[in-house]
Amino acid sequence: MFHNQILLTIDWALFIEKLILIVVVVSVSLVVAMYSTYAERKVAAFIQDRRGPNRAGPFGILQPLADGMKLFFKEEIVPSFSSKFLFILGPILAMLTAIMVSAVIPWGNNMHILGRNVSLQIADINIGILYVFGVVSLGVYGIMIGGWASNNKFSLLGAMRAASQIISYELALGISLIALLMITGTLSLNEMVGQQKDHIWNIFRQPLGFLIFLICAFAETNRTPFDLPEAENELMGGYHAEYSSMKLGFYLFAEYVNMFLSGAVMTTLYFGGYDIPFVNDANLLHTLGTNWLAIIEGLVLFVKISLFIFLFMWVRWTVPRFRYDQLMNLGWKILLPLSLLNMLATGAIILLKQNHWHF
């Protein structure tokens, strides 16, 4: 009886709607991550005056499939001296936490399908950005557990570096975000996008905060110049030195999913999310209708994210890796005070405005 009652109270349409949305968002994230590997190789090649992969299919667009297939057919090695359960758990956690971020990102405005108001956000929770933080900081567990379970000194060193790096930079990241939250007054990502649609983008109100956020995002995603946990030439791949086959693939893939989603978070926070720039949305809504507008907004969001992904790659192939002490100096002695200063200045300005100072 009791079970029946619970089942009856579930809104099945909502359930199916969210299920479809989850499948779409996760598969889109994975496809984008897959093609990011291709884009990375192409960008690297172009920056180094080469041509990049161009053999598999026209312009080499089947290259990620070939790479994936190769990884699938590689021998799956679990070292005999490893802690097996944790060894397998590591890549699972890395991938899981990477994908979980996608749940709170608003991918577009509401759509009208079959008389229902469908939100293009999997979960519009009112603490969206806190959720992102929680999940992102969980991401280090994947690396830490994988590196520790490998029972290999290089892996452990890489994992230690990852843990200390992510903790150091999360501080500056969080504090730079507090300044943003003081301005917006909300933790919900959907509301932030709404505010930016009506007013100016947050980048113009928080330029320094964005810069700090961007640098920390590079560190959080373990991208060059902060790729010390991997550091091919020092640590032979760092935390994933012992991994092979698809478990290695998951680690490498998680990095690209992270890159995609941190681009999405930065777009949502600072670049107006799915807002179409230079366009009056009310007019567009009138001419296009709700559904088409939502689709175009989603595409605009993707263009913005792609630009971020390109920026990540561009920087990777420009800037060499930091030394460990430089990394820590930058994090603790520069970014942290700078973000504190930014927070104080923002708070002071808000306070002065509230007291009717005009300047």
């Binding site: 960008v43 172009f46 920056i47 180094q48 005056d49 080469r50 041509r51 161009n54 561009w314 920087v315 192939w317 420009t318 800037v319």
Partner: protein, 188 residues
């Protein structure tokens, strides 16, 4: 201490200025350089589809020549093998039988003619040694092979196509040396 040469470059050990310690200007400068390279014309070409032209004096794979009537020039005199510094060439001679005049130009011919392309250094001394204009270096090179024995080229690999039955193949194999049958493309 006085420097022995004037090539000494003193190392700048001044402390970095505030501008330099910000790093970001330097990073942006680097990014400007990399994006410039991003749009540059690539130096590489798509090799199997596109090839770069060889120079007229390029010394490639050997070809055993025929005369205008399609008869083999080689008389198996062995001068090429003698001239070869890498000892890549071996041959066996045979006597021309009556009725084989349309196949071989003179009464002695090479029954077997092998060049080991792994030994060959493509110096072209065989071409210079040949008194009958029978062997010369073409404008292609030996393709890759999975086995060593695949690099030992016999007569069937080396012989030029018959100019009577396959004039196009003959012209192609002969390349630009068609105008200059003695070889040595730029001797003028």
């Amino acid at each position: 201490m006085e420097a022995l040469t004037n090539r000494v470059k003193p190392v700048d050990r001044r402390k970095m200025s505030v501008w330099e310690r910000m790093y970001l200007p330097a990073v942006f400068k680097g990014m400007a350089i990399t994006i410039k390279h991003f749009f540059k014309k690539k130096a590489t070409i798509n090799y199997p589809e596109q090839t770069r032209p060889f120079s007229p004096v390029f010394r490639g794979l050997q070809v055993l020549n025929r005369d205008e009537e399609g008869r083999e020039n080689c008389t198996a005199c062995g001068l090429c093998a003698l001239a070869c510094p890498a000892e890549a060439i071996t041959m066996e001679c045979a006597e021309r039988k009556p009725g084989e005049e349309h196949l071989y130009r003179e009464e002695k011919y090479a029954a077997k003619y092998e060049i080991n392309m792994l030994r060959c250094i493509f110096c072209g001394l065989c071409e210079e040694a040949c008194p009958k204009d029978a062997v010369y270096l073409s404008e292609t090179f030996a393709p890759a092979n999975y086995q060593r024995k695949g690099f030992i080229y016999g007569k069937e690999d080396l012989l030029i196509p018959d100019p009577k039955t396959d004039p196009e193949g003959y012209a192609k194999a002969k390349g630009s040396r068609l105008q200059n049958p003695q070889g040595h493309g730029n001797e003028h």
